[in-house]
C-alpha cells in the first residue's frame, strides 16, 4: 500500500466515519453555560437515558456570534433542539421572536412562578449572583464598596473591571438596572462608570482573574467566576452589592432552558428539559465548582454562596426588562464599544 492509497483511505475516513452517526437517539443542545460545568450534566443524562447529546458550547468572548444569534439565523431550518442559556434575557428575546416552542415539564412546575414563563416556553433554574470581587491585598477593608453606586467614586478611577456590557450577564444586569432604576438614573450610572475609566474586558472570567492577579482592584462579575478565582488562591473577597434589606438588592440571574420551535428531535428535547429541571441537576450545579444557587424549593443543599433567602435580592420583571434590550444596547454600544481615548 503506497502513500496515495493511504491518502485515499484517510480521505474516505474523514468524510464517512466522522460525519455519520448511529441509530442511537440524539438531542442537539446549544449551551451557553461553561463547558466545564455543563458537560458533566449532559454526560449524566446520556448515561441515564441512552440519548446521545450533541452539544455546541458558547465561548466566553465577543468574537463569536452567540448561540442565540445562531438559533435565529437557523430559525427556518433549526438543528438545535434545546437551548440551555446561562442567563435569561436572550431566552426571552428568542421567545419574543417566536423561536421557542411551548414545552410542558412536570419537574419545571415545581419552580416558583417568577422563574418560568406562563406559556411554558422557558424555565429558569440554578441562579448566579452579580457580585463585586475585591482584591483585598490592594484595597483595605474599610474602603470596600458596598453598593454598585460606589463604583463611580473617583478613588476607583481606572481600577474597576467589567465584561463588555453588550454580552452575557453583564448585558443582562444592564437591562435589569434600566428596568429597576429607570432610564435616567441607569444612564447616569453607566456614564459615570465610563468616565471613571472602567476597564472593559472580554468576559466575566477575565474580570475575576484581573482582580485576582491585581491588575485591577475590583470588578463586577458572576459568583461562579468569583468562586473559581477564590479557589485558585488569589487574594479576593466577594461582596454582594446593595444587599441590605433597605436597598434594591443583589441581582440573581437564573439559567434558562427552552425547546426550539420545529426542532428535529422534540421527544428527546422534552426528556432533556425534564432532566435539566430535576432536583438532581440543581443539586449537582450547587455542589459543583460553579456554586450555583438552587431555585427549586424542593432542593435542599447548602450553597457555597449567598442566596436570595439570606440577603436582599433585586426584584426584576425579566419579561419587561427584555423589552428594553434594544434601546439599552444602543446606548451601551455608543458609550462602551469604542471609548473615547484619554
Amino acid at each position: 500500500m503506497n502513500a496515495q492509497h493511504l491518502s485515499h483511505l484517510f480521505f474516505l475516513f474523514s468524510f464517512t466515519v466522522i460525519g455519520c452517526g448511529n441509530n442511537q437517539p440524539v438531542v442537539v443542545v446549544y449551551t451557553a453555560l461553561d463547558r466545564e460545568f455543563s458537560q458533566p450534566i449532559l454526560e449524566r443524562f446520556t448515561q441515564k437515558t441512552g440519548i446521545q447529546v450533541l452539544a455546541k458550547y458558547d465561548v466566553e468572548s465577543t468574537k463569536t456570534v452567540g448561540l442565540a444569534r445562531q438559533i435565529l439565523v437557523e430559525r427556518n431550518h433549526p438543528r438545535c433542539d434545546v437551548f440551555w442559556n446561562n442567563e435569561i434575557i436572550h431566552t426571552l428575546r428568542l421567545q419574543q421572536e417566536g423561536v421557542l416552542s411551548p414545552c410542558f415539564s412536570k419537574s419545571g412546575m415545581s419552580y416558583p412562578e417568577s422563574f418560568r414563563s406562563k406559556d411554558s416556553t422557558w424555565y429558569g433554574f440554578a441562579a448566579r449572583a452579580r457580585v463585586l470581587l475585591v482584591n483585598h491585598d490592594r484595597v483595605a477593608r474599610k474602603e470596600w464598596p458596598r453598593h454598585l453606586g460606589d463604583l463611580t467614586d473617583k478613588k476607583w478611577k481606572g481600577q474597576i473591571g467589567i465584561a463588555k456590557p453588550l454580552f452575557g450577564t453583564t448585558a443582562t444586569q444592564a437591562v435589569c438596572l434600566f428596568a429597576q432604576l429607570g432610564e435616567q438614573e441607569a444612564k447616569r450610572f453607566y456614564l459615570e462608570l465610563r468616565n471613571n475609566q472602567v476597564q472593559i474586558l472580554s468576559g466575566n472570567k477575565q474580570v475575576a482573574q484581573s482582580v485576582g492577579t491585581g491588575e485591577l482592584s475590583l470588578g463586577l462579575t458572576d459568583t461562579d467566576d468569583a468562586l473559581v478565582t477564590l479557589r485558585e488562591g488569589y487574594p479576593v473577597t466577594i461582596i454582594y452589592p446593595d444587599s441590605s434589606p433597605t436597598q434594591p438588592g443583589t441581582l440573581f440571574i437564573p439559567n434558562t432552558v427552552a425547546r426550539i420551535r420545529s426542532c428535529p428531535h422534540p421527544k428527546s428535547a422534552q426528556q432533556l428539559i425534564d432532566y435539566l429541571l430535576s432536583p438532581e441537576v440543581e443539586t449537582a450545579l450547587a455542589q459543583g465548582a460553579s456554586g450555583q444557587i438552587p431555585l427549586n424549593p424542593s432542593v435542599n443543599v447548602s450553597p457555597s454562596v449567598e442566596t436570595p433567602s439570606n440577603i436582599a435580592a433585586m426584584t426584576v420583571d425579566f419579561e419587561q426588562a427584555a423589552l428594553l434590550w434594544n434601546p439599552v444596547q444602543t446606548f451601551l454600544k455608543q458609550e462602551f464599544t469604542a471609548p473615547i481615548p484619554d
Binding site: F11, K56, V65, L166, E215, G233, I239, Q329, T337
Partner: protein, 555 residues
Amino acid sequence: MGIYVSLKKQSFWVTIVGISLLVITVLNLSYPRATTLLGNTLLLAFGTAAGSLLLGSFLAFLLFRTDLPGSYAWILLLIFPIFIPLPIFAGLWKSTLGVQGLLANFTGTVFSVGMIPAVATHTIASLPWVILIVGLGFRTVEAELEETALLETSPLHVIWIVTVRRTWGSIISAGLLVATLTTTEISLTDLFQVRTYAEEVYTFYASQGALPPLPLWNIPGHLLLALAMISVLTGTFNMPPDRWTRMWRCRLFSLHRWKWPAVVFLTLTALGILGTLLCILIFRVGLSSERKPISTPTVTSTLQSSTDEISESSNSKFPQRLSTVQYIRKWSIHTAAGSIWRCFVSRQDTWWLSLACGFAASLLTVGLLLPIIWFGRYQKWVSVILSILMGGLLAIPGPMMALALIHFFNQGGVLGYIYNSTGILILGLAFRIAPVICLCLWIPLQMIPTNIIEAGKTDVTNRLQMIRYIYLPLSLIPASIALLGGTALSMGELSVTVLLHPPGLTPLSVDIFSALHSGLYNQVAATTLLMIGFLFCIGLLLAIRMRTLKQPFST
C-alpha cells in the same frame, strides 16, 4: 513552503493610493466613531507592519543570505510559530507580560492593555511570515547583479543598493500581508481592548442581530485590500520560472567576525519568542493550588459548616464574604506530567477530529488546485483568475466567511446535510487555507523546467499516461508539503472553526480557545504543548521533504 510574493513597482502605488482612498472614504462617511476606529485600525496595522518588517527583514537577511552556521535549523525554528493560533499566542503572552505575569517585574503594567501590547504581540506573531516572505525574496535576487556590483563597491553597499532594492517587492508584500491579517483580526484586539473597525463590525452583528450599517462594513477598504493582494499574487503567479530556480543558486554573504555575534543575536531572539513561550507553558501546566485553612477568630459565622467562606457582619447591613481557607499555588513536575497525560487521554476524540478535518480540508484543496495550477502553466488567464480568487479569500475576515457559509448551507436537502455534518467545517477550512496551499503548489510547480516535461512526453502515448507518469510524480513532493502544511494550519484555525463546527464535536482550536477564556490555563498549556509537539513532528516531516526538494532539478 515556498511562499514568495513579488510586487511589481506599480503595485506599491496601488497600495498607497488604496490606503489614501480608504482614509478619505472612511473620513467622509458618517459613522459616529469613524475617526477613533480608523485611527486605531491604521495605528495597529502600520505599527505592526513597521515593527515586524524592521526586525523580520534583518532576520530574513541573516538566515537566507549569509553563511550563518545552522541557518536551516534557525529558519525552521523561527517560522514554527506560524502554526500556533493567534489567540493562544496572545493569551500566553499576556499571561507572561501582564501584571503578575512571569516577566511582570520587568514590564510593569505596560503590557496589560492598550495599543502597545497589541502592536507588540501582533509584531511577534507576524515575524515568521515576514521572515519567510522577505527571506525567499532575498534568495531570488540575481547573483550576477550582486557580483558585478561587488567589483565596484563594498559588500555592505551592495546589500543596500542591489539586494535590498531588488527585494522591495517582497518587503512591501510582507507588510501588506501583515496589515491584512492585522486589520481583519479581532481576538487580539479584544484581549488588549483596542477598538478597531473589524471588532466594531462583529460586536454590532453579535449584539444587535442585524447587519451593521454600511459605513461599518468598510467595503472600500476591504475592496482595496483585496485588490492590493490580487496585484501581489498576480505578480507572483506571472513571474518567469527561471526566477524561482535562482533560489537555490543565490550568493551567500560572509559574516566574517560577525558570525558568532549573529548566532548570539538569533539565539536571544529565538529564546525571547519560543523559549519564553515554552517556559510559560511548562510553568502553567505544572501549577496547582493547595487548600490550607486560616484562622479568623473575630468573625461571626453563619454558613461555616457548609462552605469555604463565611458571612461577616462587622457592619450588619452589608454582609461580606471572607475566606476561612487560603489556597497556596505551587508547581510540581508530577502535576505537569499528569496534566499532559490526562489531556492526551481525555481529548483523543478532539485530536482525531481536528486531524481528520484538517487533512480532509487540505486534501480537498490540493485535489482541486493541483490540476488548475498545472493548467495555469500553459494558460496565463488561469493565473489571473486564481489571483482574484485567492486575493479575495485572503482579504475576507474568517467570521464573515463562516457567516456566508451558514447562510448558504442552512437549507433543506443536500445543503442541509452538509451543514449538519463535518462537511461544512471541512469546506470552511478549505476556503481558509486555499491561498497558502495555492502558493505552496504554484511556486514548486513553476520551478519545474519545461524541457523535463517535454522529455517525458516522448515516452507516453495519451493524456492519461501523461497524468500518471509525468504530472502526478512531479506533483508528489509539493503536494505532500502542501498537505502537511495545510493540515497543520487547519488544526490551528479558529475564526471559521468556532462558528462552523457541528454540535457534538469540538475541534482542537475551539477546545483550547474555550479553555483559555475559561481561565483553565493548566489545560490550555497541556493541550498547547501537545499541539506544539505534534506540529514539531509535522515540521520535521516538512523539513525532510524540503531537503529532498532542495535541488530537485539540478542539471
